[in-house]
Subunit: 229 residues, 2 copies
DNA sequence: TGAACATTTCGATCATGATCGAAGCGTTAC
DNA sequence: GTAACGCTTCGATCATGATCGAAATGTTCA
């Protein structure tokens, strides 16, 4: 009985190094980063990072893009991001009493992007607000926008019509590893995050995946969405 | 900026050993197995398997249950199973041309259980049939039973009312790693698999997660479900 | 063409952890 | 009690792979 276990072990081995895990974690925001930047994140020298990146790219967990003398790396597919999401969810739960709970930076816990949508306290608050206002039904099973939800997002200028050949899903629950709560993912979640970036409600911090909520953003999330944040 | 990367790496390290990956893969059917059985699966001596099992249980990926002199191990939570699902999906895709595609046993590919629901060709065929008959809508986003689907399963004797305190989801898509197609998971998927076992449409093989489709099962899946199998 | 810079390749070193034999522990049955 | 059995712990060995210095490659720009 051949199983997929050897491939599973090999894949896990690629994530099992702290440097590579840091690189993958850093790339979870969906953006591309240079090899040098990722070396810093991983806390290793450029030549070591290069070795790690080569292994990840060889296994097609990462895609590489050359721009001049630099090489930009990004997650190869959303499937990889989704896998990492699932692993982080389990990684965040460690019931060993001896173990201190993972120390997550306050900024990271407050607001970050998870591949392409909002996560952290902000992501959960926006999701909760949309549920309270009957814009959204969401549980572990899946999610759907209500008529009022579609109207709400439409009023904000979000076009929810999928590109013709995109099979991307509209609503999907994503288990937030820092909050241990569901937040909204899928095309709708990505559209909200994009809007927030465009309108300068949130700004990406140069380092890492966390985002800063601007003063205007605080007002917008509270008044427009009714988020308790 | 503290991230969850160290915990992620540690978690991945637990899965990164072929023996442990085999053990976890074997336990993906949700049942409990003895340490000796798992040593066989992992292809190591009992004392080595014991060491692996202790590490997995310590990190709460497995739960252990003593029955007399034996110890039965099972996956600790459905969250662990879901994480492994996601990893197997990625593990099954390895675009390196040098690499032969993972050799999955014919029995495994034909029919198996994935934690608690049907997978493999059988799982996909049943799911496809339910979609063709308008019993089910399913995409990556989520899924729902139609009125006719509820009636159909009700006629088969499946009670879909959730236990009061269960927050288990009704329909969920699960990406089949051997077929690269969606199949039905969640409470509905589990109910169908249970029914099939009860009515002797499928039988668990003593070794491994694959199941045998009985002659009666072939008739039932074709005539009752309309599955092309 | 040559200089500056980002990145990779090579080679040697070093640490981690997987393995199994032997022995110990715990439970059950007689 | 004691024998049988399943499983775990201990100890020593061995293999894999992470690391960095040094050097090479490749790209851009002048």
């Amino acid at each position: 009985m051949q199983t997929i276990a050897p491939e599973l072990a090999e894949l896990a081995g690629l994530i099992a190094d702290p440097g590579r895990a840091g690189i993958l974690s850093r790339l979870m925001d969906g953006r591309a980063q240079t090899a040098s930047e990722l070396a810093l994140v991983a806390g290793v020298t450029p030549q070591t990072a290069s070795w790690h990146l080569a292994r990840l790219a060889e296994r097609a967990l990462l895609k590489v893009e050359r721009r001049g003398p630099r090489r930009f790396y990004r997650l190869a597919t959303p499937l990889v991001a989704q896998m990492l999401e699932g692993m982080m969810t389990v990684a965040a739960i460690d019931p060993r009493p001896s173990r201190p709970p993972p120390r997550i930076g306050a900024e990271m816990r407050r607001a970050r992007t998870c591949y392409d949508h909002l996560a952290g306290e902000l992501g959960v608050a926006v999701t909760d607000a949309m549920r309270r206002h009957d814009h959204l039904n969401l549980d572990q099973e899946g999610g759907e926008l209500t008529a009022s939800g579609r109207a709400f997002l439409g009023d904000l200028g979000i076009d929810l019509h999928a590109p013709a050949r995109s099979r991307r899903v509209l609503c999907r629950p994503c288990l937030d590893w820092s909050e241990q709560r569901l937040h909204l993912a899928g095309r709708a979640g990505a559209a909200i995050a994009n809007l927030a970036l465009q309108r300068d409600w949130i700004r990406r911090r140069p380092q890492g995946r966390s985002v800063e909520i601007t003063a205007a953003g605080l007002v917008a999330f509270r008044d427009l969405f009714g988020a308790r944040i």
